[in-house]
Amino acid sequence: MNKKMILNWNSLLLIFLLILSVYVISPNFGNEGVSIRGVEANSPAQLAGITSPDEETRQVNYERIIQVNGNEVLSLDDYYNEIRQSSSTVVLTTNEREYILQNVTNSTGLQLSSAHTTNIQTGLDLQGGTRLIIQPDEDISAELYEDLRDNLEKRLNPNGILDVRVTNIKESIFAPKPSFVSIEVAGISSDEIERLVLRQGKFEAKIQNETVYDGSGVASVNTASQQAGIQSCERDGSTGFTCRFSFPISLTPDAGRAFGEATGKLSIVGGSLSAPIDLYLDGNLMDSLSISADLRGRSETGISISGSGSGASEVVARQDALENMKDLQIILSTGSLPSKISVVKSENISATLGESFLQNALFVGFLATLVVSLLVFIRYKTPKYAIPMILVSLSEVVLLMGLAVVINWNIDLASIAGIIIILGSGFDHLIILTDETRSKKNSKQRESWKRKFRKALFIIMTAYFTTVAAMLPLGWAGAGILRGFAFTTIAGITIAVLITRPTYAKILEYLQD
């Protein structure tokens, strides 16, 4: 072992970057239980005092649930089993304190994932959750795509406390504007999301088929429980129950004036006006309210919105009505989407499946490295090359993970395939370097080391540019569904040609002296 092998610029840079990567990844393999990523507003969990992690908290430091009702939970599977068996009062013990959740019916309102042992963010296919790729039905401008994204984000995350990612996606790097919007939400079912996303939310209030005001006339939606809630429940035939809800909204002064003008034209019939005000959502009549006579011609900025929910029992009907009310409140307060939208891809991935993928992938990566190292050892009949090769290949992976953490990149299943492939091609290039620079006994004139290194580098760089060229289109094709793969591969081989392979070459130079 030559001191120079480590005390040269390449090796020192690599070591420095490795330390930096490990620092940002901050592995903490002792973390057990399930991590809390987010808490839904007004859910049993929030009422018990559980809060979402703030933005500065790195995921290894998220609060973790370690016991449910006194029983240890090691995985999401354990957690859901315990919740399923629990009564409506659930005692959650976290690594920080104990919470008592009351009235838990079907969900605690927590967004969870397996305990994070590193800061590497995993994709939905590894942690579970819902991904929708949507496309506006109309051709809309780049600014409207921004509006669409902001609006969808507000609908899905009205209180800004859940782990929701809404991003616009271009069809190619050169495209002037996006073509898709991707929505990723960890740990929430796709039905819930589709209910909120798929409605355009185009609100119209009409009197005698004339639009009086639309969604832009809604100034605010009152969600306070004193005024908003269930009005009545009654048996609906012999099969079930129907509950009605209502909540007030305030209109802008302009919309109020328009209401005054429109009602001024109506006549008084009995105690109310000759025509009702009809409220439409996305072209469907939602409610038809009769207007009391004293409002005629008056600029009125308060109005009550109502609707219903149904179910087999009163409890279910009540819950359905409350859910519908919440959806409607969110849709009215966020306003109309710039266009109707359709879902082009929807995935709802169970968290336990992802967990098993991740464990397996780690095992596969480890095994593959081991077997290849063995081959290298057998071929060169000395650990002299095999050991630096393994170290260099593994550091490629560590640097890549460090980069992923720094730029908030999600490692998904396809990225893992990319990493295995980088490991494979990494060994290929290290073998080229080794073979090109090993002195050939038979050749008459021994080429200078630099010349040999340049030849090896030429092969590596040509292969590099070709691979990047092949991967680039994948970054955008089909709403970027393989972006993870393309990015990981490009980033991985770039790190390799810039940092790790030159370091290996340097080590070789001293090895062969």
Binding site: V343, V344, A368, I420, G424, I431, T462, A470, P473
Partner: protein, 305 residues
């Protein structure tokens, strides 16, 4: 080794015919596929053609083909395919795929639940519209052409000679077509992730082919057999390590995504082995002998000694 080289020296043109025969086989295979699969040269999986995929996590043992026919008959006018998910021999669950319309997702899930008598098992669903798959596919095809073109330019810029550049492009095209044909023959359905594997074949094929071209064309004054031999020693070892990595991943993975990528790469690497060492090596040999006859003379001089 010597006798092999003297045999190879005389008959190397015949060796180049093997990859060309593979190309003919591939053309025939793809034509057959085209005529028997409604004008499709690829069996597209649901992430490319649109449809539903439902994954159920359970360790129940089921009769896959029976469930397949049962579900297909219940959900009329649709084909249901069922595959088993395994992790080191243990059953982990099943993947159900169908070309059903997205609106039937819930019905599909219900049918599966009833037919497997499931209760609370975790379920994963994936719905893809055919428009997205089609757009993805056509963009990737464009991408492959772009990559091939760029590759030809990079190789030309590197060697300043057209024959070696075109030889590599030809080798890569044969790699892609023959791999696709073999993949079709296995009856598997190509997913979006599998498409990525085809692009990776380009990357791997370039590795060995550039190594070969560089050693053959830039080897100073060494003998042509020596050049080929040294390239083969390195290149074949590279292929062996890569094939090993892919095989380990293919054998031990429990993910459909990774398994398909590795499977396609494995076929591609085997095909590339043939195109690199039989086709590209042959073309380069003939090219060098025509351009630089001194390489042969030198060899004769040495053998006289």
């Amino acid at each position: 080794m010597k006798s092999f080289f003297s045999f190879y020296e005389k008959k190397y043109v015949w060796f180049t015919l093997i990859p060309l025969l593979l190309l003919v086989f591939s053309a025939a295979g793809l034509l057959y596929q085209y005529s028997t699969h409604d004008g499709e040269i690829i069996n597209k999986g649901i992430s490319l053609s649109g449809g539903l995929s439902v994954t159920v996590e359970t360790n129940k043992e089921i009769d896959v083909s029976q469930v397949e026919t049962e579900l297909s008959s219940q959900l009329s006018s649709s084909q249901v395919r069922v595959r088993t998910l395994q992790d080191q021999g243990r059953i982990q669950g099943y993947v159900f795929q169908s070309n059903l319309n997205e609106s039937l997702r819930d019905a599909f899930v219900e049918e599966i639940k009833t037919s497997l008598a499931l209760t609370n098992e975790p379920i994963t669903t994936e719905v893809t519209q055919s428009s997205l798959g089609a757009a993805f596919f056509s963009q990737v095809i464009q991408g492959i052409f772009f990559a091939l073109l760029l590759m030809a330019l990079v190789v030309y810029a590197a060697f300043r000679k057209w024959v070696p550049a075109l030889a590599i492009v030809l080798a890569v095209i044969i790699d892609l077509l023959v791999t696709l044909t073999i993949f079709d023959l296995t009856g598997q359905y190509l997913s979006a992730a599998g498409v990525a594997a085809f692009l990776m074949i380009i990357g791997y094929a370039v590795d060995t082919n550039i190594l070969l071209s560089s050693r053959m064309l830039k080897a100073g004054d060494s003998d042509i057999n020596e050049r080929l031999f040294s390239a083969a020693k390195t290149g074949m070892f590279m292929t062996v390590t890569t094939i090993t990595t892919m095989s380990v991943a293919l054998f031990f993975t429990n993910s459909e995504v990774i398994s398909q990528i590795m499977f396609i790469l494995l076929i591609g690497l085997c095909v590339d082995f043939i195109t690199t060492w039989f086709l590209n090596a042959g073309i380069l040999r003939r090219y060098i002998l025509r351009q630089q006859p001194q390489v042969v003379k030198k060899k004769h001089k040495r053998s006289k000694k």
